[in-house]
C-alpha cells in the first residue's frame, strides 16, 4: 500500500527543474521514501505477466488472478482453508439432473461503460465460445462434456452436458472457463478481447493501464454491482525472481508476495517489521518418474530398487528446508482421492534396494535423471545422487533450462522422449483429482505421460471417475489409480510443496486453501 510520490515534485522537467530534481534526490538521502506512502494502492506480486483479457487465451492462475478482479462468474471459490464455492452472479444454481445444471442470475448485475445488465445470453455466449474449434480455446478441456447453455429467460438458463461431469463444480464453473464475458462487447471487438483495455468489465476493478512487461494497473469499477472494494488502485506487478520479490516486500514496494521455501525458516525466526507470514498446503505435486519403456528398467526389481533408494525425507530437508511434507501421491490432502500413505515407505531402504538389484543380477546400476535448472530440483537430484550410491546406483544429473526440459518427453520434439530414464517433475493442479490423473492415461504418452505408463484399469477408472457423482466412490477410484501408478515402479512421490505468503499487516489478504491469492477479496486491515 505504498506509492512513491517523489514524481509529483517534477510535473514537467526543464533545465531549472532538473536542478530542482537533483536537490530533491539529495534530499531523499535524509527522508525515508515511505514518508510519501499513501494507503489506497494495493501492490500484489505475480511471477509472470498474465496473457490478456480473453479466457480463450488463458492458461493458468496468472490469468485467473486478473480475471477475478475484472470479471465475474456464476460461482466463485470461497477464500479460506477448505475448498468450497459460493454464488457470485448466480442467485440460485443447482444440479437439476446428472447432465444438467439450472441457474438463475441475480437481477441488476451490470456491465461497466454502458453495456447494460448481465444476462443469461452472456453466460451462454461465454461458455459456448470455448467449444468452437476456430476459437482455439486453451482451456476447452476444463469444460469436459459440456455441450451448450439453454436460455430459458433473460436471467435463467440450463447448462447441458453429454454425460455427468463431476469437475464442473470444482474446476469449470469457479475457475477460468466459468468467466463470463459481455456478448455485445466481445462481438463488437471482433469475437475476441485483444484491446489494450477491456471494453467492459463486471468485477470490482477495471483495467486502467497495462504497462507491458511490468504491471497491470487496476482501478475501482464505478459500475460494479457488489460492495465497493477497499482499494482505489490495485497493481499486479510481474516480478520473476523470488528473491527480488522478497526484497520488494521488505522495502514496502509490494504488499503481498509468495516466497520460496528457502526463506521461510529465516522469516519465521526473524519476521520483518509490519509483515505477516502464512503457510498453506499447496496442490501441486512433485515426483520422480521413470520411463517404463527404457530397456534399462524392463525388470520390475530394478524399478523397485530405484524407488527404495530414493529417500524422500532427506529431499524434504535439503531441498524444501523441512517446510513441506512428503506426499503420498498426486492428489493433495483435502481433495477427493487423497491417499493416507504410500505403498513403498517414504524413507529409503538401501539394503532392500541392494537386494533387489542382486536378485536382478546387477552389480552397479548407472542411470540418469533430467531436472529443471532451479535450485529445488537440482538440490533434490544431488541428494538422490549422494544417497543412491548406498545401494550401488550411480546417478548422473542432467540439468535443462525450462524450454528444453518441458519438451523432453514430447514426441513432437524428436526422439528424446524414447530414451528418457528418470525425470524430476512438478505439475500444477486444480482442486479436482481428475486434473491430476489426466496426464497419466495411455493417450498422453508422447505428450505429458513421460513415464509411458499404460494401464487399462487406470484408463477405465479415469473415465468412470469423471462421471461419478458419489464422492465416496470417486474417492476410492482415485486412491486405486495412485496405487496402480506406484505398483508400476515408475513413480516416487515427493511432495505437494507449500505456498508461503508474505504480506503487509496493513492488509487482510484472501487466499484459496492452496494459498493462491484472490485479489478481488483483499481488504484493508
Amino acid at each position: 500500500m505504498t506509492d512513491h510520490r517523489l514524481s509529483r515534485l517534477f510535473p514537467t522537467l526543464d533545465r531549472r527543474q532538473l536542478l530542482a530534481g537533483a536537490v530533491g534526490l539529495s534530499a531523499a538521502s535524509a527522508l525515508p521514501i515511505t514518508a510519501w506512502a499513501q494507503g489506497t494502492t494495493l501492490n500484489v506480486r505475480s511471477y509472470l505477466e498474465p496473457e490478456d483479457y480473453d479466457p480463450l487465451d488463458a492458461s493458468g492462475f496468472l490469468e485467473e488472478m486478473l480475471y477475478g478482479c475484472i470479471y465475474r462468474k456464476l460461482i466463485q471459490y470461497v477464500p479460506g482453508d477448505e475448498w468450497a464455492w459460493q454464488n457470485d452472479l448466480a442467485e440460485t444454481i443447482k444440479q437439476s439432473s446428472p447432465t444438467t445444471i439450472t441457474f438463475t442470475l441475480k437481477p441488476g448485475q451490470m456491465w461497466s461503460d454502458g453495456y447494460g445488465e448481465i444476462t443469461a445470453e452472456d453466460v451462454k455466449f461465454s461458455m459456448e465460445r470455448h467449444m468452437v474449434e476456430e476459437n482455439n480455446s486453451r482451456i476447452k478441456p476444463d469444460l469436459g462434456p459440456f455441450t451448450h447453455v439453454e436460455v430459458t429467460d433473460s436471467h435463467s438458463g440450463i447448462i447441458h452436458m453429454e454425460r455427468p461431469f463431476a469437475p464442473i463444480w470444482s474446476i469449470a464453473l469457479p475457475y477460468l472457463a466459468g468467466t463470463i464475458l459481455c456478448k455485445r462487447a466481445t462481438e463488437e471487438a471482433g469475437g475476441k478481447i485483444t484491446t489494450a483495455v477491456p471494453p467492459t468489465v463486471s468485477g470490482p476493478y477495471r483495467v486502467s493501464e497495462h504497462r507491458l512487461g511490468e504491471r497491470w494497473v487496476l482501478e475501482r469499477n464505478p459500475d460494479y454491482s457488489g460492495a465497493a472494494p477497499d482499494f482505489d488502485r490495485v497493481d499486479i506487478i510481474a516480478i520473476v525472481d523470488e528473491s527480488a520479490a522478497e526484497i520488494a516486500k521488505e522495502a514496502g514496494d509490494v504488499d503481498f508476495t509468495a516466497i520460496g521455501p528457502g526463506s521461510v525458516q529465516r522469516l519465521q525466526e526473524n519476521p520483518p517489521a509490519n509483515s505477516q507470514l502464512t503457510l498453506h498446503p499447496a496442490l501441486s505435486y512433485t515426483w520422480v518418474g521413470l520411463n517404463l519403456n527404457n530397456p534399462k528398467f524392463e525388470d520390475i526389481r530394478v524399478r523397485q530398487a530405484i524407488m527404495h533408494a530414493i529417500d524422500v525425507p532427506s529431499i524434504m530437508q535439503a531441498a524444501y528446508f523441512d517446510v513441506a511434507e512428503p506426499s503420498t501421491g498426486i492428489i493433495a490432502p483435502g481433495l477427493i482421492g487423497h491417499r493416507e500413505k504410500t505403498l513403498i515407505p517414504q524413507q529409503a531402504d538401501f539394503a532392500r534396494a541392494r537386494a533387489l538389484l542382486d536378485e536382478a543380477g546387477i552389480d552397479r546400476l548407472a542411470i540418469k535423471i533430467d531436472v529443471l535448472n532451479n535450485v529445488t530440483a537440482t538440490t533434490s537430484a544431488q541428494v538422490m545422487q549422494a544417497m543412491m550410491t548406498n545401494a550401488g546406483i550411480d546417478l548422473e544429473i542432467s540439468v535443462h533450462e525450462s524450454g528444453s526440459f518441458w519438451s523432453l518427453g514430447v514426441a513432437a520434439d524428436g526422439e528424446r522422449w524414447r530414451d528418457l530414464e528418470l525425470t524430476f517433475k512438478r505439475f500444477s493442479m486444480t482442486p479436482d483429482p481428475y486434473y491430476a490423473t489426466a496426464w497419466f492415461v495411455t493417450n498422453q504418452i508422447g505428450d505429458w505421460n513421460w513415464e509411458q505408463f499404460s494401464n487399462e484399469e487406470f484408463d477405465r477408472l479415469h473415465e468412470e471417475a469423471l462421471s461419478e457423482t458419489d464422492n465416496e466412490k470417486r474417492d476410492a477410484m482415485y486412491r486405486r489409480m495412485q496405487d496402480l501408478m506406484e505398483e508400476s515402479g515408475a513413480y516416487r512421490f515427493i511432495t505437494h510443496e507449500v505456498t508461503a505468503n508474505l504480506y503487509a499487516d496493513t492488509i487482510t489478504p484472501a487466499t484459496r486453501p492452496d494459498g493462491l491469492p484472490m485479489v478481488q477479496f483483499f481488504r484493508r486491515a
Binding site: 517523489l6 510535473p11 486453451r138 528444453s404 518441458w406
Partner: protein, 314 residues
C-alpha cells in the same frame, strides 16, 4: 571520412545479418517444442497443429530464415502469436527502457570513471592512486547481479532511498529517472573500473607528450593543462571502450531488468527464450544487436572524427 563511414556502415549491416542468421538457426534447432512450451498442457492437438502452422514451424530452417528476413525487409518483425500482438509493439515498448538503462550506466561509468582515472593519473603512485586502483579492480570483478542485489538491500531495504521495482510512472520524467538510478548504477559500476584504468593509463601517456610540456612551459596552470588539454585526448580510448562495452551492458541489463523487475529488451528476451517464443526472440535480438552495432559504429565514427589516424589506419 565519407569512404570510411560507408565502409563502417557496410560492415555493421553485415554483422547484423550474420549474427541474426546464426542466432535464428541456433534458436530453431534448440531442443524444446514451442507449441508444448508456449501453449501449456491443456492445449489440444488441434490447437498445437494450428499454432505450428501459424508459426511456420513445419518449414525447413532455411525457409523460416528467408521468411524472417523477407518480413524484416518489409518492415514487419512478425507476430507474437502467443499474446496476439505484433512483435514490434512488444519490442519498441521495451526498447526505451533498455536504452535508458544502458545510457544511465554509461553516464555512471563515464562520469565516475573519468574523474577517478584523471585523479589517479594526477596523483600517480600516491596512496589515493593505489586506493583508486584497488577500487577499480573491485568494481570490474563484481558481477552486476551481485551489485544489484546488494544495492537493493542497502539503498532500498535498509535506507529506503530508492524503489526496488518498476520503471516509474509513464510520462513523469522525474519518476522515471528516480527508478533508473539504482539499476543503471548496478550495471555501470563494473565499467567505472574499466574506464578509470583506461583513462589513467592514457592520461599518463598523454602527460608525457611534448605539447603538454610546451603548455606547461608557457606557464598555464597545472589544472588547466591536465583537465583542459590532457584529459580531452586521454578520454578517447574510453569512448571507444564504452561503445564496444554497450554489448556487455546489454547483457548485464538482462539481470538488472529481472532483479529490478523493469520492463526492457533483456527481460523480454529472457522470457521469450524460456518460452521458445521465436518471433519475439528474433525481433528483440534484431533490435538489440542493431542497437549494439549502431552504438559501436557511432563510437568508431566519433573516434575517427576526433583522431584522423583512425581513418588512415582503416
Amino acid at each position: 571520412m565519407l569512404t570510411y563511414t560507408l565502409q563502417r556502415v557496410a560492415l555493421a549491416l553485415a554483422i547484423v545479418f550474420v549474427a541474426i542468421s546464426a542466432l535464428f538457426t541456433i534458436m530453431v534447432t534448440l531442443p524444446g517444442d514451442p507449441t508444448t512450451v508456449l501453449l501449456g498442457p491443456r492445449a489440444t492437438p488441434e490447437i498445437r497443429a494450428e499454432f505450428r502452422l501459424q508459426m511456420g514451424l513445419d518449414n525447413p530452417i532455411y525457409v523460416q530464415l528467408a521468411d524472417f528476413w523477407g518480413r524484416v525487409l518489409a518492415g514487419d518483425l512478425g507476430t507474437d502469436y502467443y499474446r496476439n500482438r505484433p512483435v514490434a509493439v512488444a519490442v519498441f515498448s521495451a526498447l526505451p527502457h533498455t536504452t535508458a538503462l544502458v545510457f544511465g550506466a554509461i553516464f555512471w561509468s563515464a562520469s565516475l570513471g573519468i574523474v577517478l582515472g584523471a585523479f589517479s593519473a594526477d596523483n600517480r603512485n600516491s596512496l589515493l592512486d593505489r586506493v583508486t586502483g584497488v577500487l577499480s579492480v573491485a568494481f570490474i570483478a563484481a558481477p552486476s547481479f551481485v551489485v544489484a542485489l546488494y544495492a537493493l538491500l542497502l539503498f532500498s531495504v535498509t535506507l529506503r532511498w530508492f524503489p526496488t521495482i518498476g520503471a516509474g510512472e509513464p510520462g513523469d520524467i522525474g519518476s522515471r529517472l528516480y527508478h533508473l538510478i539504482l539499476p543503471s548504477l548496478a550495471i555501470g559500476l563494473a565499467w567505472v573500473g574499466y574506464v578509470a584504468r583506461i583513462v589513467r593509463a592514457s592520461m599518463l601517456e598523454t602527460l608525457s607528450e611534448s605539447y603538454i610540456r610546451t603548455a606547461r612551459a608557457f606557464g598555464l596552470p597545472r589544472r588547466v593543462v591536465i583537465y583542459n588539454y590532457a584529459l580531452r585526448v586521454a578520454i578517447l580510448p574510453a569512448v571507444q571502450v564504452l561503445g564496444v562495452g554497450i554489448g556487455g551492458m546489454l547483457s548485464a541489463a538482462v539481470f538488472a531488468e529481472i532483479v529490478f523487475s523493469r520492463p526492457g529488451i533483456g527481460s523480454l528476451i529472457y522470457d521469450s527464450v524460456s518460452g521458445r517464443n521465436y518471433p519475439v526472440v528474433m525481433g528483440s535480438m534484431l533490435v538489440a544487436i542493431g542497437f549494439f552495432v549502431t552504438c559501436a559504429l557511432i563510437a568508431d565514427l566519433i573516434n575517427a572524427a576526433l583522431d584522423p589516424r583512425h581513418r588512415t589506419k582503416s
